[in-house]
Structure formats: structure tokens, C-alpha cells
């Protein structure tokens, strides 16, 4: 369960970028996040992938209150979150294989398993012939697929993607979305920030819309009251 309650966020002493953000993401749910550029989508994702702490409000990630979670516990939470960054953020000095293998190696998975899982996934995203290629030699679409493979290699509980199909053709875009759906069927909570109305219409998942730092949520993500009443009844 991901739960935000009246969350506000500002960078340093600047103006508040996000205001009174309240929503819940049930385990295994799939949502799109839309909104114009500069509305706060990336900032909201940054809070979700634990790059920042909120300036106010409460965030519960996997039922852990972020405000009371000590810094040394954050890596364990982050390992449960897969992120596809809009600018990919691949490590340029590592090959496609090593980039994808990174989350597994950080988690201490044996090298034998790393070889198996990474090879399989790179094959699935059509990069078998590029496993030793450095990111700077890959096209935008290939980089995006490496970034997606890195985000999902460790089967995260929460997958966050910022425009994950922006640099691939329609066919690959739909294929990647089916991959996300497959993960979602296995219990991964998925939140995808996108401008693509085509994807939203095609897959029909609920949409959270952010504009000027405030969030409009669909019924499926506004279950805070429902959650609170559940807690009270317990």
C-alpha cells in the first residue's frame, strides 16, 4: 500500500511545488499519471521513489511511515521500487548488461543468477545483440529498453515510469506496456506518467491528473477515507 496524506513539497526555500497531495495506491493497482509539463509529475515521482522527503504531510510506502523510517532503512525500501527515469539515467561506463544487472548485484544476488536473469530479460526486450554495448552507442529507444529492463529486473513491488514509451515506436511501446501489465498481474503496483492519450485509451487504467501542484485522483486512488475506516474498524 502506498498512501499520501496532505503531502506538500518544496525544493529548498522555494515555492511549494506539490500541495495537499492525497491518494492511495492499492497493492497490484495500475494507474496513469498525467498532467502538463511543469505540473509536478516528476516531483511526485521523486517522492515516490524516495529521492526526496516531503516538506509536510505523511507518506506511507509499503506500510512504512517515511517520516519515522531511519535513513539506513531506505535502501531496502528502494530495492522494492523500480524506476524508469525520463532521461534513462543509465551509467555510461557500464555495458547494457551491467546496467541491467546493477539492482541484482546491489541486492547481492549470485553472479550465476544475474547472468541468467539479465540475459533472459535483454533477450525479451530485443537487446540480445547489444548486451556489451555502452549506452552512448545505443539509440534512444534501445536506451529506454535498457532502462526499463533495469527497473523491472528485480521484480519490484512498485514500478514507476516517467514517459516510458516516449522514445520507442508504437509497436515497441505497446509491447512494453504489455510487459508492465504482466508485472502488474503478478502483483506489482504500477504508476506510469505519460502524455500519451493513445496509451491511456488503449489500456484503460485509471488516471491521476496533476495540475499546478495539486492532484485529482480517480475513485480507485482516493480511498483514503476507505483506508482510514478500515484502520478504525481494525
Amino acid at each position: 500500500m502506498i498512501r499520501f496524506e496532505n503531502v506538500g513539497m518544496r525544493y529548498g526555500a522555494g515555492p511549494e511545488i506539490l500541495r495537499d497531495i492525497t491518494f492511495t495506491l492499492a497493492p497490484g493497482s495500475f494507474h496513469f499519471l498525467t498532467g502538463p509539463s511543469g505540473a509536478g509529475k516528476s516531483s511526485l515521482l521523486r517522492l515516490l521513489y524516495l529521492a526526496y522527503r516531503p516538506s509536510r504531510g505523511l507518506i506511507h510506502i509499503f506500510d512504512k511511515d517515511l517520516a519515522t523510517t531511519p535513513r539506513e532503512k531506505l535502501p531496502i525500501l528502494r530495492r522494492k521500487i523500480g524506476v524508469v527515469f525520463q532521461d534513462f539515467r543509465l551509467l555510461d561506463h557500464l555495458s547494457a548488461f551491467d546496467n541491467v544487472a546493477l539492482p541484482l548485484r546491489i541486492s547481492g544476488v549470485s553472479e550465476k543468477q544475474v547472468q541468467k536473469y539479465v540475459s533472459e530479460l535483454l533477450d525479451w526486450v530485443g537487446l540480445t545483440h547489444h548486451i556489451n554495448a555502452k549506452p552512448r552507442t545505443l539509440s534512444g529507444g534501445q536506451k529506454q529498453r535498457v532502462a526499463i529492463a533495469r527497473a523491472i529486473i528485480s521484480r519490484p513491488k512498485l514500478l514507476l515510469a516517467d514517459e516510458p514509451t516516449g522514445n520507442v515506436d508504437d509497436e515497441m511501446g505497446v509491447r512494453l506496456m504489455y510487459l508492465f501489465q504482466e508485472l502488474n498481474k503478478h502483483g506489482t503496483t504500477v504508476l506510469i506518467a505519460t502524455h500519451s492519450q493513445h496509451l491511456i485509451d488503449h489500456f484503460g487504467h485509471p488516471v491521476m491528473h496533476i495540475e499546478d501542484g495539486t492532484l485529482e485522483v480517480p475513485a480507485s486512488a482516493s480511498g483514503l477515507k476507505r483506508y482510514q475506516s478500515m484502520e478504525e474498524s481494525v
Binding site: 521513489y49 535502501p75 551509467l91 544487472a101 546493477l102 546491489i106
Partner: protein, 296 residues
């Protein structure tokens, strides 16, 4: 864990210089430490050598005839022989006294023209049993000009000087260590700034601070070890060269008895390179952990 370098540290200009700087610092540290060891050995040697004997000087008194001086010398010799704590007593012959004076007065010393003092050398069997004040008083009663020289003053001055030099050597080692640590801290901070984006990605993927610190400490350790080994080898070469030069210069003179470095000391010197590398590694680790602690 795979052997992949998750941070491209080998391309950093700051860490590229590290082997050279560590090598230079280890070169100085080994020389300073070996110097301190040599001075310690020298001080011990002088301490032991000069603590083992006492010299009694009996200058010829004005108005005393040769016979009177000889009689006083024999009385003093007898008194010294009876002194508790002293062992073998020996009256130095004139030829030996002339030999001792020749570096200052030349080879052609004529005892008839130059009144020579009488010298008695006594070995100390038990230093604590010898009452030098009482001995001095008794000998002066026999011959007012008699001087008991236990070499204390000269020895104390020389050992004091050697101790100061040894302290200087150890201070150099301490300063070199401090410089090395400061260098590693700045190089590591430079690396953290240069690879800020990669570190952020590693963090967001779930890397602990210790994972990132391991990348730095491993890189710093091997870079430092490479330089340290070269620095140590060069310094051993210099020590060997200086020892050869000293042997050639001193020949069979007394200086050839300078204490050398024993096996234990050589092993200690050999350990300076890995110790320096471990210090560098630890400094890098602490710097990374302290710096990362300040970010989320």
C-alpha cells in the same frame, strides 16, 4: 560480488595522481623511519659503550717532580682498584696517550716538552655500586687536579641530540601520514562530486552507503598500494646506497661500527607500504560515509 567497477573512478584526474603522491610520501616515510631506527640503535650503542667505563685523568701539578707524580698516580691506581663496583683497572702508557692526542696535536709529540696527564681507565662492573662523588673526593685528596670522567655529560648530550633527531624523524612520519590522509580526503571528495549523478542513481536503485564506499575504498587501496610499493622499493634502494657509501667512506674506522638495520626493523619498514595503503583506504571510506550521510 561481481568485479564490475560501478563507479568510473579510474578516469578521475584526482585519483590518477594518487599513486605518485602516495609513492612519494611512502618514500619519505620509509627514509624517516629508517633514520629514526638507526639513531635509536646508535643512541643505545653509545649508551651501552660509554656506560661501561670510567676515565681518571691526573694532570701534572706545577712543582711536582716526576717521582711525586708517579707516586700519586700509583696511590690513585690503588684507590681506584679498591673502589666498589669497578673491575679491571689499567694505567694507559704514554704511547697510547700520544696516539689519542695526535689528531689534535700531530704525530710528533715529545713528552719531555709537553707534560702529559696520566690516564687510568677502569671498567665498571656494577654501575649502581659506584659512588662517583666519593671516588672523586678521595682521588682529589691524593692529587687535587684528578678528574673522574664517567662520560655522563658527553653521553647525555649526544643521546639527547640523537633523541631530538629521532623525534624529528618520527614527526616527519606523522606529518607525511597526515598529508596522505588529507590528500585522500580531498581526492575522495572530488570523486564524490564528479560522480554525483552515478551515486544518486546507485542510491535510488537501493545501494547502501557502504556499497558506494566500497567502490571508493577498493579503488583508493589499489592505487595507493601501487604507489606505496614503488615508493618503498625506491627508498630501500636509497638506504642500501647510503649504507654502501658509508661503508666505503668509513673503511675500518670506528664509524664502521654504526648499527645497521636488523631483520625486524626491515620487516617493519616493509610493512609501511601496506599500512599506508590501509590508512588511505580507511580515509576514503570514512570520507564517503560521512559525506553521503548528509544526503537522503
Amino acid at each position: 560480488m561481481a568485479r564490475t567497477d560501478h563507479l568510473p573512478l579510474s578516469t578521475d584526474p584526482s585519483t590518477k595522481l594518487m599513486p605518485w603522491l602516495v609513492g612519494f610520501l611512502v618514500f619519505i616515510a620509509v627514509l624517516a623511519t629508517s633514520g629514526s631506527m638507526l639513531l635509536t640503535g646508535l643512541a643505545d650503542m653509545w649508551d651501552k659503550g660509554l656506560s661501561g667505563s670510567v676515565t681518571i685523568q691526573i694532570p701534572p701539578l706545577e712543582g711536582d717532580s716526576e717521582v711525586e707524580t708517579t707516586a700519586k698516580t700509583e696511590n690513585i691506581l690503588e684507590a681506584v682498584q679498591k673502589t666498589q663496583g669497578l673491575g679491571e683497572v689499567r694505567l694507559l702508557p704514554n704511547t697510547e696517550i700520544i696516539e689519542l692526542l695526535s689528531p689534535w696535536l700531530g704525530e710528533n709529540i715529545n713528552p719531555e716538552n709537553l707534560p702529559l696527564p696520566k690516564l687510568i681507565e677502569a671498567e665498571i662492573d656494577n654501575l649502581e655500586a659506584v659512588d662517583f662523588e666519593e671516588l672523586n673526593r678521595r682521588l682529589r685528596a691524593i692529587s687535587p687536579g684528578a678528574i673522574v670522567d664517567s662520560h655522563d655529560v658527553w653521553r647525555d648530550h649526544m643521546i639527547g641530540l640523537l633523541n631530538i633527531l629521532r623525534l624529528v624523524g618520527l614527526s616527519v612520519v606523522a606529518l607525511v601520514t597526515l598529508s596522505g590522509v588529507i590528500m585522500v580526503v580531498f581526492a575522495t571528495r572530488g570523486g564524490l562530486v564528479a560522480h554525483n549523478e552515478v551515486i544518486e542513481v546507485l542510491h535510488l536503485i537501493g545501494a547502501r552507503d557502504s556499497f558506494i564506499a566500497r567502490q571508493f575504498q577498493s579503488h583508493v587501496f589499489w592505487a595507493a598500494l601501487k604507489g606505496a610499493v614503488i615508493g618503498a622499493i625506491l627508498s630501500f634502494g636509497v638506504i642500501w646506497g647510503l649504507a654502501e657509501m658509508a661503508n666505503n667512506l668509513t673503511g675500518d674506522s670506528n664509524l664502521s661500527t654504526l648499527p645497521g638495520l636488523d631483520t625486524t626493523q626491515l620487516v617493519i619498514l616493509g610493512f609501511i607500504a601496506p599500512i599506508a595503503s590501509f590508512i588511505a583506504m580507511y580515509a576514503a571510506r570514512r570520507t564517503v560515509l560521512t559525506t553521503l550521510q548528509k544526503i537522503m
